[in-house]
């Protein structure tokens, strides 16, 4: 049982060290090494702690295996490149932001339906908000526009079906 723990610990270290690899290759590498350990133990005919330690020692450190994978020439696609996240501009408020708010509030009263749509166009051209915030605004407008329409549709179909009854 001690031997099983050694193997699991080793494979856990390998999986942790393999974070720069893509998920498919990480799974494959861990499976390959697991199979190697199984083959080596089967070959030696014993599964005691000393045999297991020797097998793992011959494999080398998990970090060394991953280093060979990452550092090998021709593995450009696998190098641990840090993804650069684009942070929204947040350049403060300009004309687009003011226009967006105006059309979404006052515009909605004076230009029903069209006003909020123009407001949304300004929202998407604005720099001050993140893409997520823009989607939230779009969703709110969509719901507020669609709900009354659905309500009206419900009234008309309801009344028309009522009329069709004998």
């Amino acid at each position: 049982m001690e031997a099983d723990m050694l193997v699991n610990d080793y494979l856990g270290r390998l999986e942790a060290a393999a974070w720069p690899l893509n998920a498919d290759r990480r799974r494959e590498l861990v499976a390959e090494v697991r199979e190697h350990i199984e083959s080596a133990l089967a070959e030696s005919g014993a599964r005691d702690e000393v045999t297991t330690r020797n097998v793992l020692e011959r494999l080398g450190a998990p970090e060394e295996i991953v280093a060979a994978e990452v550092g090998s020439p021709g593995s450009e696609g696998q190098s641990p490149v840090v993804t650069v996240v684009q942070i929204p501009g947040r350049r403060g408020w300009g004309a687009s932001e003011v226009a967006a708010i105006a059309f979404l509030t006052v515009g909605a009263v004076f230009l029903p339906i069209i006003g909020p749509l123009i407001g949304l166009a300004f929202v998407w051209s604005a720099d001050a908000w993140s893409t997520r915030q823009k989607w939230v605004a779009t969703a709110i407008v969509a719901v507020l526009l669609v709900l009354p329409i659905l309500f009206l549709l419900g009234l008309t179909t309801g009344s028309s079906s009522g009329q069709s009854l004998p």
Binding site: E35, H36, S39, A40, E57, L59, E64, S72
Partner: protein
Amino acid sequence: MVPGETRNPLTELRRGVLEYCVLAVVRRRESYAFDIVRELTDAGELLTSEGTIYPLLSRLRRDRLVTTTWRESGSGPPRRYYRITAEGKRALEGFAAEWRRFRRAVDAMLAAGPRGGSDGG
């Protein structure tokens, strides 16, 4: 694993020639990873950390120097067998020629011995 191993000049050399030794093994006959490891370790100190064979085999697959076939094994899960491709054979032959020249040059330098510097003027 051995401390100070990174300073051993043979470590870098071994790393460089290992893939061609693997190609030579799978040129002789189709083998699975554990077989290849055995051949390399039996031949001498070609592979110090057996686990590093898997990144190497993965790269040879990606570079299409070897192809693989899954086969049922008598015991345990199916095994992935490696075989050299035409491209792999070309790479291996190219390396073998370069290696012979390189080995002759190094041998010649080492055989020259400590002659030159001692007969000062």
